[in-house]
Amino acid sequence: MTKLMTELPGIERIRTRFIEMLAERQTQIASYGLAAWDGETVEEINSNLAGAQAILHQIAGSAGSLGFEELGQTARNCELQIVDHLAGPDADLAICPIELISALDSFVALCRKETDALS
């Protein structure tokens, strides 16, 4: 747990808000992931992956500060996988790699674990 977590007053309130938002964000990430997987055009696939990446970026930025290190690191890894794909040689092909969907699936499962534990 970071120093920020242990020292800030009012952190519990922010953690609770984060978990509430996480429930909503995991659903959004799953929706983007499914839409990317089902997508038939490059634009459809990439825009949905970018949507998932933007939410992962937010989670990665704040989770660690609130004591959810594993969640933050997993979000960061997923984000970087998407960034690499979107900047890589397959970015202009209508391909959604199974590895990305698998990583998003694992991340959503981890989110559920965290939200269930605190609900």
Partner: protein, 323 residues
């Protein structure tokens, strides 16, 4: 200090709010997008902002473009801007510094780091008036007559990749966190800068330094670099692209460009600034204070080269090849 934080994640804004509450007597204002921030700043009732904190990656206008917009305003042209970044990609951080950022903090936050960065910003904001003078495209008569000491760093605006000296120090301090394999620092000194300083008015001196910065920046274009005017006629540069500059060739290129640029003082007399180049110092396997020492080495070698050149004009038998 009154701080304006801009981040699209409400959790980050709440965290910063809690953080600011515990570290002292600061006031935090927040905006969840760059456009909201610009709108708030356009409101005359908002009062003065002493420090900005911008997330780099935001939907719509990102923190880098927001920094550029803020730097275009005379009011906030040198207000400290602390970037908040979750990205390890240095390109974003370099772009933020080039846009005018003063420093950055990585997410997730830790109290110790955030506190020290805020403290540095606070000190910089307090000391700014004493240490740094400003150049604006259209300066007031009062500003034009303001004296600037020869050794003082000067903030130069609207020249690509030129950043404030304090931002350069922060940038170099942060460099030690990452690999320094491809990093090199080097410097140029305007020859006989003391004579220019003595004979030109404050505004003419600002203009001279600014014009030389522009020529240097134009000459270095095509390479990744950041540059800062450190005072005493010296520009310190740093590149991390793996490029190893040939200083003698670079100095010739800069001086050729200067010879092609018509610069005049307020009386219409042409001035002929030329630069001397110091050593290119590689930063590989350096860390902590030795990175700063390398910067100082590059700096002092350029000044020594400039001095050697001046001496060579009066002592024909001692000619340094590079100077």
């Amino acid at each position: 200090m009154r701080i304006l934080a801009v981040d699209d994640d409400p959790i980050i804004l709440e965290l910063l709010g809690q953080f600011v509450e515990i570290i002292g007597t600061h006031e935090l204002l927040t905006a969840d997008s760059a456009l909201d921030a610009l709108e708030a700043l356009a409101d005359p009732d908002i009062g003065h902002i002493d420090c900005f904190m911008f997330d780099i990656q935001m939907p719509g206008m990102d923190g880098i473009d927001l920094t550029k917009r803020i730097r275009e305003t005379a009011r906030y042209s040198d207000t400290p801007i602390l970037m908040l970044t979750a990205m390890s990609d240095k390109r974003y951080i370099d772009a933020a510094f080039a846009a005018g950022a003063s420093d950055y903090v990585t997410k997730p936050f830790e109290i110790a780091e955030l506190t020290s960065r805020i403290k540095i910003v606070e000190n910089a904001a307090q000391g700014k008036q004493q240490r740094t003078k400003k150049i604006f495209a259209a300066k007031s008569v009062a500003d034009q007559s303001k004296h600037v000491e020869l050794f003082e760093p000067i903030s130069i605006y609207d020249v690509d990749n030129v950043i404030e000296y304090t931002a350069m120090e922060n940038y170099v301090a942060q460099l030690s966190r990452s690999a320094l394999f491809g990093s090199t620092t080097f410097a140029f000194t305007i020859r006989e800068i003391d004579a220019f300083h003595a004979s030109l008015s404050a505004f003419e001196f600002y203009s001279l330094v600014s014009d030389v910065a522009e020529v240097l920046s134009d000459t270095l274009i095509g390479h990744q670099f950041l540059m800062s005017y450190a005072g005493n006629g010296t520009f310190v540069c740093i590149t991390e692209s793996g490029w190893r500059p040939d200083m003698a060739a670079l100095m010739d290129a800069v001086n050729f460009e200067l010879s092609q640029t018509e610069l005049f003082d307020n009386h219409g007399t042409r001035v002929h600034p030329r630069v001397s180049a110091g050593n290119a110092v590689r930063l590989i396997w350096k860390h902590g204070s030795s990175v700063m020492d390398a910067l100082a080495d590059a700096h002092s070698s350029a000044e020594a080269a400039s001095l050697a050149h001046t001496k060579s004009l009066t002592n024909f038998w001692q000619v340094d090849q590079r100077a």
